[in-house]
């Protein structure tokens, strides 16, 4: 292929496309869950539910300060601690302090993308603690020192034999590639960790302000374990993951589990409102809720992108995106992959830094169609591209490609004045001649255009454009009257 220097995104994308295992997994994943979700939405009795939940999500964002204050008040009333963390470091420092006070040696984690976003694992490890992921997929990823490649199915890129070898090496079991046996081995190993951990560290799927609970969904039960057995529970919550009332919770959580895995509900939905009471001997003695901003208020402030905070992180958009379906999750180089990652990662971590994520989609619109809360991701991708095109002070973004910008300035002149446009076409038609191959197609072009001809032929500019044909035929007439009379129409 071309000798152009390639970005990390392109290299990782190619790696993904070159993996038969990943391709097979992505294919069956999208076939089952992507199509399944579209069918679910189409057949749902309550066709207004998605719009309603979206509306409530947006309304709650507009009143976020009130909701968070109410949540904090209710949790504190039950004896829980609430900490508001402006950024990643603040959240890490607070959690480290809790761990130090409680002499924590072992931390068990429930799956949390936010924990990856703020990179808290390495901070805990550097402070001398053992950190164990307990979601099976995340555990496998951790053992392999790899990165997750799907929001819901983190090790979708690994096959059973690789996992078998990994377990043989790390857990000392006899080699097997049988999923039930592998799961049983992890169950045993993780039970030990879960029962002896000093601290459980989880995310928060959805908090409810009116009742003062956080809720967590899981199928495995690991999150219930991590929030029940260790004496300390620290929950990390993105500040936008909140609903006002239980009724909103009911509808939102159902869209979450349907979008994620076509389930009416996940196996477990746990509501935690504080530490265990004196009457109740199991459950954590301390509960800490860490509410995290880390760039979210900046998104909230921009009406163009506020909508992305309505996301409930179900991962449905990954299950339909034709680009994600080819390249897999690693190319996104972020805890958030797929279409949602392509919007949220640049906003949280820098638009210039993640320019490939902004530009690397076809804007086909499938993600918008499947989103349980109808988030217009393509609109926001186009918005991000605008920041790259012209630069943006608000987003501290530089013009991404001045050459491209210049080309579009020229293009603008050309398309705004048709004589120039027509002359340009004539010149291009002359220039293309040497490149037209035997099948009347252009086989090879230079520069940027080689991106097309590396893998595809290109039709040449026609000998006569439609405009030229028209001008020749209808040089005089303004309006072409129909040749047939109106009576003959129903042929």
């Amino acid at each position: 292929m071309s000798a152009k220097p390639q970005s990390q995104y392109c290299r990782d994308a190619q790696k993904g496309m070159g993996s038969p295992r990943l391709q097979a997994s992505l294919h069956s994943l999208q076939n089952r869950f992507g199509k399944g979700a579209m069918t679910l939405w189409a057949e749902m009795d309550d066709q207004d539910m998605r719009r309603r939940v979206k509306q409530s999500r947006m309304k709650n964002l507009d009143h976020l300060d009130i909701l968070l204050a109410e949540l904090a008040k209710k949790v504190r009333a039950r004896g829980g601690h609430v900490h508001f963390a402006e950024n990643a470091q603040d959240a890490i420092d607070y959690t480290l302090e809790v761990a130090r006070k409680n002499e924590v040696k072992r931390v068990v984690k429930g799956k949390s993308m936010l924990s990856m976003e703020i990179a808290i694992d390495s901070a805990l490890q550097e402070a001398g603690m053992e950190v164990v992921e307990t979601d099976l997929g995340e555990y496998i990823i951790q053992l392999a020192d790899d990165k997750p490649s799907h929001i819901i199915a983190p090790c979708i890129h690994m096959d059973r034999s690789r996992i078998g070898e990994l377990f043989t090496e790390k857990l000392g079991i006899n080699y097997t590639d049988d999923p039930p046996s592998l799961t049983a081995a992890a169950r045993k190993a993780l039970r030990e960790k879960l029962l002896s951990a000093d601290m459980g560290l989880t995310g928060c799927n959805l908090a409810c302000a009116a009742t003062g609970h956080i809720s967590l969904v899981s199928n495995e039960g690991n999150i219930r374990m991590a929030t029940t057995m260790p004496p300390v529970h620290v929950a990390l919550m993105g500040m936008e993951r909140i609903v006002a009332t239980l009724d909103e919770h009911r509808e939102t959580v159902q869209l979450l589990t349907r979008g994620a895995a076509l389930q009416k509900l996940s196996t477990y939905v746990s509501f935690v409102g504080g530490p265990s009471t004196s009457d109740d001997p199991d459950g954590p003695k301390e509960f800490h809720l860490v509410i995290i901003d880390n760039g979210r208020s900046k998104i909230l402030a921009d009406p163009e992108f506020r909508e992305v905070l309505a996301c409930i992180r179900c991962g449905a958009c990954l299950n339909i995106c034709p680009v994600y379906g080819r390249i897999g999750g690693h190319a996104y180089n972020s805890p958030y992959c797929g279409p949602i990652g392509a919007v949220i990662t640049p906003l949280l971590d820098g638009i210039n830094k993640h320019a490939d994520l902004c530009k690397g989609e076809t804007l086909c619109g499938a993600c918008k169609d499947i989103c349980p809360v109808q988030i217009d991701l393509p609109r926001m991708l186009a918005g991000l591209r605008q920041k790259l095109a012209y630069g943006s002070d608000r987003w501290n973004t530089k013009q991404h490609n001045p050459l491209e910008a210049y080309a579009f300035t020229l293009w603008r002149q050309v398309v705004s004045w048709s004589p120039l446009y027509r002359t340009g076409l004539k010149i291009a038609r002359l220039c293309q001649r040497p490149f037209v191959g035997k099948n009347s197609m252009i086989k090879r072009m230079a520069g940027l255009a080689s991106g097309w001809t590396d893998g595809r032929d290109l039709p040449p500019i026609a000998k006569k454009t439609f405009t030229e044909i028209w001008q020749k035929k209808h040089a005089t007439a303004e309006v072409k009257l129909p040749m047939a009379t109106k009576e003959d129409n129903n042929a």
């Binding site: 390249i327 086909c364 619109g365 605008q386 603008r412 893998g455 039709p459 439609f466």
Partner: protein
Amino acid sequence: MSEKTVSLFIQCLVDTMFPETGEAMITVFDRLGVAYDYPPGQTCCGQPAFNSGYSRDAAAAAKHFIDIFEDTEIIVCPSGSCVRMVRHHYPELFADDQAMHSRALAIGAKTFEFTQYLVDELGINDVGAHFPDTVTYHDSCHLSRSLGIADQPRTLLNNVRGLELIEMRDSDTCCGFGGTFSVNYPEISVAMVDEKIDNILATKASTVTGCDISCLMNILGRIKRRGEDVQVLHIAQILAADKGEKR
């Protein structure tokens, strides 16, 4: 039948690379007795700039388009994505300019995709075409997802004499074109169109058709490179065919 004169909005790719698609549209209109004109001076709707983020440059193209088409009765275009650009994105481009915004809304309201115009506006399900061949249909994203046009082309195809429509798997999955995406990320784009072509080949249809020449150009370009034996035609070309001639 509408008394209105259709103003042809010929997408730049049709004008420059696939003029036969525009001619086919004319053939269909002639057969149906629809009056039409071709406003001179049209260039490009601005979509390439818009999709790449150059909204201000796209707005210049939009302004040019509005100037040219403003006095028309009905605008019909053989491309779903261009219609979507005019209808949905022109008003966005002029969100801060009340006068232009109104002009954009007015233009959008009278701009239709070719098959949509035939079926929804003129109430025509049968254009009197004859095309004795097996055909499969690709749903272009902006056409099907954004404009909701999926039944209209199928209705028209199903009423073409001799034509057998064979649905392909995942007909509404993106072909991987995506404008500058196809040039900026050719490996991903080609992987996507390869899957599309595999689905086309699996139908064993001899022709693949669609309502958007951009997607068809992408599919055609890859089919030629792979050396596959499938004909790629814009739907207008099929609807224009008669006497069983194969194009």
